[in-house]
């Protein structure tokens, strides 16, 4: 049977159904979404961004925020470049969204790609994730000062996710601000690997997020400081000072945001913003954020664009200081 025949055969009952739903519902629903929405993920199945995306998708399955399914599409590779290129190529597609990390800003800069975040439609910033400095429970460092004292005397081995990405950016920034010896930075493929290597004492410090290293606190690991404005609002973490309180005025966060292809219709953008507005108020999302120390935010449109611009400025400065950009 051809598609055409299929369509005409089902068109009448479908219209009847749609009309009856319309009458029953009483209120006209916005047309978006008419079909499933694709959620492009710049990590492989099981990667950090993937876990977030699938968590969000799970919330939609439970609560039907939109009547259509959200389909995860993994496009790993190139520190996000492959996923970005794919979404960018779908100009005007209202059914495509991209979950983004800081690599959304840094990869185009570092890899000298022919596009930046400005080429995408900003949808929503959901949260800012944290970067505490973790050491092993048995390590001699009790405070940030202890750690920096050692780091100034000799090169300390640290590990993190990827190279020239968020974790290394934090360590290079510490290096510059505190004037330590260059860290011996060992890159790993994922946050889980990083946590495991600190627990196994193969390095001396990490900047894992609470969602990655948290399960090992307080049995194996200890956070010395968290590099953000406010202390972590998680039971058990109240005494972890901020960078400023501990004497190193440095704030850095991971943006958990959603962007979409350029040239979308207003309807599509509004639909997506509405979806994530609902997700951002979901009690389960709030509970998850509370447990992992995410600072919940909700920025859209121009405000999100402004946020990304500030973020780009910050990154250009850090990356220039580290000698990664000219």
């Amino acid at each position: 049977m051809t598609m055409k025949a299929l369509r005409s055969r089902f068109a009448v009952p479908f219209l009847l159904l749609a009309a009856s739903l319309f009458v029953l519902g009483g209120v006209a629903e916005a047309a978006w979404p008419e079909r499933p929405v694709e959620f492009t993920i710049s990590a492989g199945v099981g990667g950090g961004a993937d876990q977030y995306a699938r968590f969000l998708i799970g919330l939609n399955v439970k609560n039907n925020y939109i009547a259509q399914p959200i389909i995860p599409v993994n496009k790993p590779g190139g520190a996000g470049a492959v996923a970005m290129q794919s979404v960018l190529g779908q100009k005007g597609n209202d059914y495509q969204m991209l979950i983004t990390l800081n690599s959304f800003i840094t990869t185009p800069l570092f890899q000298n790609l022919p596009f930046t975040f400005r080429d995408f439609t900003p949808v929503a910033l959901l949260a800012l994730d944290n970067f505490p400095l973790w050491v092993h429970k048995d390590s001699p460092y009790k405070t940030l000062d202890d750690f920096l004292k050692k780091a100034k005397a000799e090169s300390v081995t640290v590990c993190g996710t990827g190279s020239k990405q968020e974790d290394e950016i934090v360590f290079r920034a510490i290096e510059k601000l505190a004037g330590t010896q260059p860290f011996k930075y060992i890159p790993f493929k994922g946050g889980g690997d990083v946590a495991k290597n600190l627990v196994g004492k193969h390095c001396e410090a990490t900047v894992n997020q609470v969602s990655e290293a948290g399960p090992f606190f307080p049995d194996y690991l200890r956070p010395l400081v968290v590099f953000q404005e406010k202390r972590l609002d998680i039971p058990g973490y109240e005494n972890v000072p901020t960078g400023k309180e501990a004497g190193l005025d440095f704030n850095y966060n991971m943006m958990r945001a959603i962007f979409a292809p350029p040239g979308m219709s207003k309807e599509g953008v509004d639909g997506m913003v509405g979806l994530f507005k609902k997700i951002s108020e979901d009690p389960e999302w709030i509970a998850f954020a509370k447990k992992t120390g995410l600072q919940r935010e909700f920025l859209t449109g121009e405000a999100l664009k402004k946020f990304a611009e500030d973020y780009e400025k910050l990154h250009i400065k850090i990356m220039k200081d580290a000698g990664w950009l000219k």
Partner: protein
Amino acid sequence: MDTLVHLWSGLGVAMQPFSLLMMTLGLILGLAVGVLPGLGGTAGVALLLPVTVFVAPEVAIIFLGAIYWGALFGGVITSVLFAIPGEPWSVALIFDGYPMSKQGRSGLALAASFLSSFVGIIIAAFFFVAAALPLALLALRFGPPEMFAIMMLAFSTFVGLGTGKASKTLVSTAFGLLLTAVGLDIVTGRPRLTFGTITWMSGFDFVPVTIGLFGLGEILIDGEDRFSAEAREVILAKVGWADIKEGMREIWKFFPQTVMASIMGFFVGVLPGTGATPASFLGYGLAKQYSKNPEKYGKGAIEGIIAPQSAANAAGAGSLLPMITLGIPGSPTAAVLLAGLYMWGLWPGPRLFLEQPAFVWGLIASLFLAALVCLIICLAFTPMLAAIMRIPWGLLTPIIVVACFVGSYVMRNLMFDVICTLAFGLIGYIMKKLKYALAPMAVALVLGDMTEVFLRQSLIMSDGSFAIFFTRPIAAVCMSFALLLFAFPAFKLYREKRKARVSIGPG
């Protein structure tokens, strides 16, 4: 004693009718996912993860676990029948499974692989029960130098893998290693061999390349054979229950090897970040090294099926151990399950064992049940699966070709991968014609990437000194074994040459 009490209560959870129903459903879905090339167990688990919010966490994990076990069992089917790896960890099954199929022994090959899957999972489950936490803590002591030593061990068992000329094996291995170098270099963050394109930044994935090399390449060779002048007689697959009995006899005959491969596989699986694929290669390589007649390997030796398959399944189960005990995913599939834990409101980590005994022990108990149920399902379908080989070639081949392309696309949703499959189909054909062994290339492709990363991480730790592989006890032991294995073929060659010289030398 405590453990047995826990296990008993876990069985109580797993034996509830609803759990059993969900488990069986998961197994069937997993088998289907495993059969489709490219759509792996990881993808299957990820796909159905959102659905599980509707059931209790202990049932959800049993369901998702069952998908994974199903995929572990099912991945071998296409490898054995068509030389198309349904899963990355079933590539090693092609080496001997496909030749067996060509000899009309596909039923036996399948029965043997299902039975060894069963043994592998059961042995892994025993380790789970006996020493989950100490084992997970032991795994933590494996840092980059130790992991590099393990990888060297895997490579060393494959020294003698190529059946042809040593120089051709070397070329084939080097080609595989070269392919793994393409993409973003994780240590410097810079692109390598991408020719300035963004597409190539994703690098060559192992699945589309092997689907092309083995699957498509084999079809091209086969097609040529069939239409060549000497139309040879096609061996029809034997179909019947006798294969299952014979499979059991073979497993029994090689029982010590099966158990050894399972134990080895389990330990490799527990090591974070490796999973079932290296374990299956290591199982194959070791079995061949210690076999009394290694020349049979690659031509349809049943040991060449039993060892990698039991190792892969034990590793698959093993990779869940650090996830359950410590919250560290041992494989991509385990990482997806970890995401599930968050969704169900559980907090993975060392405390899960204490705080959620029903959840943890339900999963462990379901391992035993799932392995048994899955074995029964698989064996029941073995004659039917073997009968597929009786479908006329002209009908079957187009379906396989379509499956090859679909399979290579779904893994990463990249058109690039489809082109890869096509290109490597041709490359595989040419390599076979020129008598280059494909197996060393596949091994290099799978292990090369990890090996390089572990090496460079270790060298960062040691400021460039190779001594790090010999000053750390675990690494030193593995490295020494690997070096011995590397030296062994050379030593054997030297002795044979000397013997030959003595016997024919001037008298």
